[in-house]
């Protein structure tokens, strides 16, 4: 399963941490170009830390993150920002900032003292707003939006950045189920049409399996499984990574793996574990 697909973004034996704690330890992962890579794993296993390391926010303690063959943390940040965008997990908008203003800040890497705001920037912002269905919010203050609207605005900002590589930390948090699917469809389309390489952290295994070309499962700062959704999403891996008993069946819509958690409570008195009352056949 270690295909030699071309990779512009590559973490090579990278160790990352905070203060005296190492969170990600000697991790190697190659992000295939033009593909959607989804990182899954339990809370606190180091997914956000890995994304931060890849976006050069954390200096590696060992190993390196390579972007186009160069170590990211030795490259000028602005140069990195023109190729690689990052949507952090819990971004906070400054007080009073309007939606267009925030999305417009995504254009920062393309500007300089000599090259100020231009029509191209207007265009990029308008496109990002249209893609995320936030044009109608343009004049609103970000603070005053709902969680889901805000999330879409932040994604619009990342899109306006116009990078070939996009790292998104839980882009679907706060989104209702329809907007989750909507957002993932949007990212999938972006990937298909523009060839944007997408790396995202998701918590929903089933949506991950459906939208990922490649899945990376992490546990305690290490990669424990990596490959196509069919290879990674198995009952054993789910038990290993999340400590959860489950059944994995084919998704009736996409034929990717579908995880059905077992749990202790079946919601119906008298139901017994391991004996599903109705068996779905796709």
């Amino acid at each position: 399963m270690s295909t030699t697909a071309p990779t512009r973004l590559y973490a090579e034996g990278v160790s990352l941490g905070y203060d005296d704690r190492t969170v990600v330890d000697d991790l190697t992962v190659a992000i295939p170009d033009g593909k959607v890579t989804v990182i899954v794993g339990g809370n606190g296993c180091g997914k956000s830390t890995l994304l931060r390391g890849m976006a050069r926010l954390l200096r590696p303690r060992g190993g390196a993150v390579l972007l186009d063959g160069e170590a990211v943390h030795t490259m000028p940040t602005k140069q990195v920002a023109r190729r690689l965008g990052l949507l952090p997990q819990n971004p906070i908008a400054p007080e009073g900032v309007t939606v267009v203003d925030l999305v417009g800040r995504g254009r920062h890497p393309h500007q300089s003292a000599l090259r100020r705001w231009s029509r191209d920037d207007d265009r990029a912002v308008a496109e990002a707003l249209a893609l995320t269905d936030t044009t109608d919010l343009a004049e609103r203050v970000v603070d005053e939006l709902s969680g889901g609207q805000r999330q879409r605005v932040w994604i619009a900002m990342a899109l306006a950045q116009g990078t070939d590589l996009l790292l998104l930390d839980e882009p679907t948090t706060y989104l209702d189920v329809a907007h989750q699917v909507e957002m993932l469809d949007l990212l999938a389309e972006l990937n298909l049409r523009a060839g944007t390489t997408i790396v995202m952290v998701l918590h929903d295994l089933n949506l991950s399996a459906r939208y990922a070309d490649r899945l990376v499962a992490m546990k305690e700062g290490r990669v424990v499984a990596e490959g196509t959704p069919a290879e990674v999403v198995t009952e054993d891996t789910v038990r290993d990574v999340f400590g959860l008993e489950s059944r994995v069946i084919p998704d009736p819509v996409s034929h990717t793996p579908l995880v059905v958690p077992v749990g202790r409570h079946l919601g119906r008195p008298g139901a017994t574990i391991g004996d599903p009352p109705t068996k779905e056949r796709p």
């Binding site: 009073g96 800040r105 920062h108 265009r123 308008a126 269905d133 603070d143």
Partner: protein
């Protein structure tokens, strides 16, 4: 706008027409507002300057003042002396020092994303003042050396606060800063108590700040500092819009934490220059940013903060000098009296930072 037109399924494709015109229009509104705010504040600062020059216990008519200033003389030596050697340098000092305090406060509050984290609250001003007092009383330094000591002291304290708090993104910064500020305050108290003669005016100046002792030397110092630092501030503040998104998002957009620290350094040097000349004017840096923000629909404005600082200091000096009884109240006492309730109000409102960590 209807409330729940948020139907996603078909909306994406229906709404996927980029509306460039709307973007341009929507971008214009906040810009106009900001331009208006800056204009209003510039006028306010100018009016405050004129009031300080022309009114008070010795009044001038505007034409007389102009004639004296351009040097065509009006044959009244006392009047000329009072305007040229007292009122003008004092008002200019208040204006320029106010700009320093205001700009510095706005930068601090923006980068640290916390209205409480202004240089006067987190100990930078007091640190600058303590260093100046050490130079003054222990080493007998005078003039520019005292100013240099204030700059060095401010940077030193800033580094200590940053180190103890563990980085500038930390919520501990305000707590550590408040602790260090009171330590510095006791250093000043100690030195003045040990000094051979207790000079109340001098002590007050270094404890709460006062414009009363300002002369042309002070103006010259501030002009030099501002000529050097304002272009630096202008250059580094262009990234403030990105820095204020928080370290993660800012880094994703190509603005490093180092850049934020550079802006902070400029702000530290600015406030220290102000302190060197007029002492740690209580709460001035702390008040300016939020007032400018309130006028600018909540959005950051460093220029606005600077102009508010200038206006406030001019006003405080005028009020303290002329409007309160017969005593000459230092400007710092007036700003302190205004700032303290505001601090309490901020705390009561629970506005102690927007950073989740």
């Amino acid at each position: 706008m209807t409330t729940t037109t948020d139907r996603p399924t078909t909306a994406l494709h229906a709404a996927a027409v980029p509306d460039v015109e709307r973007v341009r229009r929507a971008r214009r509104t906040p810009r106009r507002r900001h331009a208006l705010v800056v204009m209003v504040l510039a006028v306010a600062a100018l009016v405050a300057l004129l009031v300080n020059l022309l009114l008070g216990s010795y009044t001038f008519t505007a034409p007389d003042a102009v004639r004296i200033i351009v040097g065509s003389g009006i044959d009244r030596p006392t009047a000329e002396f009072i305007l040229m050697e007292q009122k003008l340098p004092r008002a200019l000092t208040a204006l320029l020092a106010g700009l320093c305090f205001g700009a510095s406060g706005a930068v601090f509050q923006t980068v640290l994303r916390n209205p409480l984290a202004s240089p006067d609250i987190v100990g930078i001003s007091t640190g600058a003042s303590a260093a100046a007092v050490v130079a003054l009383l222990v080493f007998g330094a005078r003039g520019d050396v005292v100013a240099l000591a204030a700059e060095v002291g401010a940077v030193g304290i800033a580094l200590v606060v940053r180190w103890v708090a563990g980085g500038i993104g930390s919520y501990r910064l305000v707590l550590v800063g408040v602790g260090i500020a009171s330590a510095m305050l006791s250093v000043i108290h100690y030195l003045f108590t040990r000094a051979a003669i207790w000079d109340a005016q001098l002590a007050l100046r270094w404890l709460t700040g006062s414009v009363a002792a300002a002369g042309w030397d002070e103006v010259r110092l501030l002009v030099v500092v501002l000529v050097v630092l304002l272009p630096l501030l202008w250059w580094s503040a262009s990234s403030l819009r990105i820095t204020e998104l928080g370290p993660d998002a800012a880094s994703g957009l190509g603005v490093t934490a180092r850049r934020a620290e550079l802006v902070m350094l400029v702000a530290v040097l600015l406030v220290a220059a102000g302190v060197a000349v007029v002492g740690p004017i209580a709460f001035l840096a702390f008040l300016s940013g939020p007032i400018a923000r309130a006028m600018n629909a909540g959005r950051t404005s460093v220029i606005g903060g600077a102009l508010v600082g200038a206006t406030l200091l001019l006003a405080a000096d005028y009020v303290g000098h002329y409007l309160i009884g017969d005593v000459n109240m230092p400007a710092g006492i007036i700003t302190g009296a205004v700032g303290a309730p505001f601090l309490l109000w901020l705390m009561a409102r629970g506005a102690t930072g927007r950073s989740p960590r």
